[in-house]
């Protein structure tokens, strides 16, 4: 814990970190365990999440707010998914540039505008965690591609690819739901 705190520069941030640790460490473990179903791996995910958090404490304004809890949930889930991917050796991102097409974006926009809130909600729930996380980082927590890349431990290009894939997946789900 002391080393943890030594990484944080200001007193205010140290206090914030202690509060987060005391308030959410078990919550974070639970979130990770729900993904990994292994309490030790879940602990690893929590450690990784805290490690990432030391670099992004400025994103947390109010420790006790639901927003913070959601942000911690996203980080922990992403770290848990990383562990699964590492276990599977599934770390190579496929750069399929065919996803990067404006036409697809236009279609997604069209679907989102057309579909009801419930349908959109249902489609998001069906998204794979890897894509949902990248959406959460980008649209919910409003992080930049660089920040997302740092939190995920990947390059910005990988982040772009994941976002485009996520949009494509969501578009496909919405298209299927529409019919």
């Amino acid at each position: 814990m002391l080393i943890f705190l030594s990484m944080i520069e200001t007193e205010e941030e140290k206090d914030k970190f202690v509060q987060i640790y005391e308030s959410y460490s078990h919550f974070m473990w639970y979130v990770a365990n729900e993904v990994l179903w292994d309490k030790y791996l879940a602990e690893d995910a929590v450690q990784e999440a805290f490690l990432a958090l030391t670099r992004h404490l400025d994103k947390i304004e109010d420790v006790k707010s639901p927003k913070t809890k959601k942000f911690l949930m996203t980080i922990t889930k992403s770290k848990a998914i990383d562990i699964i991917r590492k276990e599977k050796g599934d770390l190579i991102e496929e750069f399929d540039e065919s996803f990067i097409q404006e036409k697809q974006d236009d279609l997604l926009h069209e679907y989102i505008e057309k579909e009801s809130h419930e349908a959109l909600l249902g489609s998001i729930a069906k998204l794979d965690d890897i894509y949902r996380i990248v959406f959460e980082y980008k649209y919910l927590h409003e992080l930049s591609d660089k920040e997302i890349a740092d939190l995920l431990g990947v390059t910005q290009k990988v982040v772009n690819v994941r976002i485009f894939r996520a949009r494509k997946k969501l578009q496909d789900i919405l298209a299927k739901e529409g019919h």
Binding site: M7, S25, F27, E43, L51, L121, A125, E136
Partner: protein, 246 residues
């Protein structure tokens, strides 16, 4: 933007729903407690992260310092090369440098000359004395000895003191100097003064002497060098005093 807003709302709502399914912190604590190794491992993890970061920074800093050192060396070498071999300088610059050097040298020559001029005073004085001596030998001593140079000085202008000495037992007559002849580099300039020689005779008793001072500038003699001859009548005889100025 509207689409992104809708997406955000949907994601937020979905996450809220997910959160509702999670028990409270206290409930989870009952189910799971972190053991001691949890914190230790986390500390190790953070320590490694910090060490790696420091290493990366150190490597970056080393590269930066090396690059900076190389740059400084290159600039230094470049400056030295340029100073030693002034590539690309225009001819006019060269010329001006050379002219400067020449004028400097001229100045130094001039100053040397000046100092030599100044030095000439004493030398000239000595040499003049020699000239007088030699003149004395050439001329009749009974006449010459009456008309002598007693001193030469320089304070920007040359000044001479000349004397008429009566070394005989009887009275002596003398006139002012009425002719100045100056010869330099083969060029002779003669200045004759309009004096009534007969009417301006003066008498000098036995054993008496008079000394007169003249500024040679008044006779166009500004620098050392050349031979000056001055004439006056002493005891009805034209007497010449020759002075060599070095």
């Amino acid at each position: 933007m509207e689409v992104e807003k809708r997406l955000k709302e949907a994601l937020d709502e979905q996450l809220t729903k997910d959160l509702e399914k999670i028990p409270t912190e206290e409930e989870i604590k009952v189910r799971h407690t972190f053991n001691d190794s949890f914190l230790t491992y986390m500390q190790q993890l953070i320590y490694n992260e910090r060490r790696n970061k420091k290493k990366k920074r150190a490597i970056k800093r080393t590269y930066f310092l090396r690059a900076a050192a190389c740059l400084v060396c290159l600039v230094g070498i470049g400056t030295l090369m340029f100073t030693a071999f002034p590539f690309g300088r225009s001819d006019s610059t060269d010329k001006s440098s050379r002219m400067e050097a020449t004028s400097e040298s001229t100045r130094s020559t001039e100053s040397t000359k000046e100092s030599s001029d100044t030095g000439t005073n004493s030398i000239a004085s000595d040499q003049m004395q020699l000239g007088i001596e030699s003149q004395r030998e050439m001329e009749d001593a009974s006449k010459t000895e009456y008309f002598t140079l007693t001193s030469l000085s320089f304070d920007g202008d040359y000044h001479i003191d000349v004397s008429v000495n009566n070394q005989i037992d009887t009275e002596m007559t003398y006139t002012p100097i009425y002719e100045w002849t100056y010869t330099l580099n083969g060029k002779t300039t003669t200045t004759s003064l309009d004096i009534d020689v007969e009417g301006s005779k003066e008498v000098l008793k036995s054993g008496e002497s008079i000394t007169e001072t003249y500024n040679l500038n008044d006779y166009g003699i500004k620098k050392g060098g050349g031979v000056l001859e001055i004439k006056r009548m002493i005891n009805e005889q034209e007497t010449t005093l020759s002075i060599t100025i070095e």
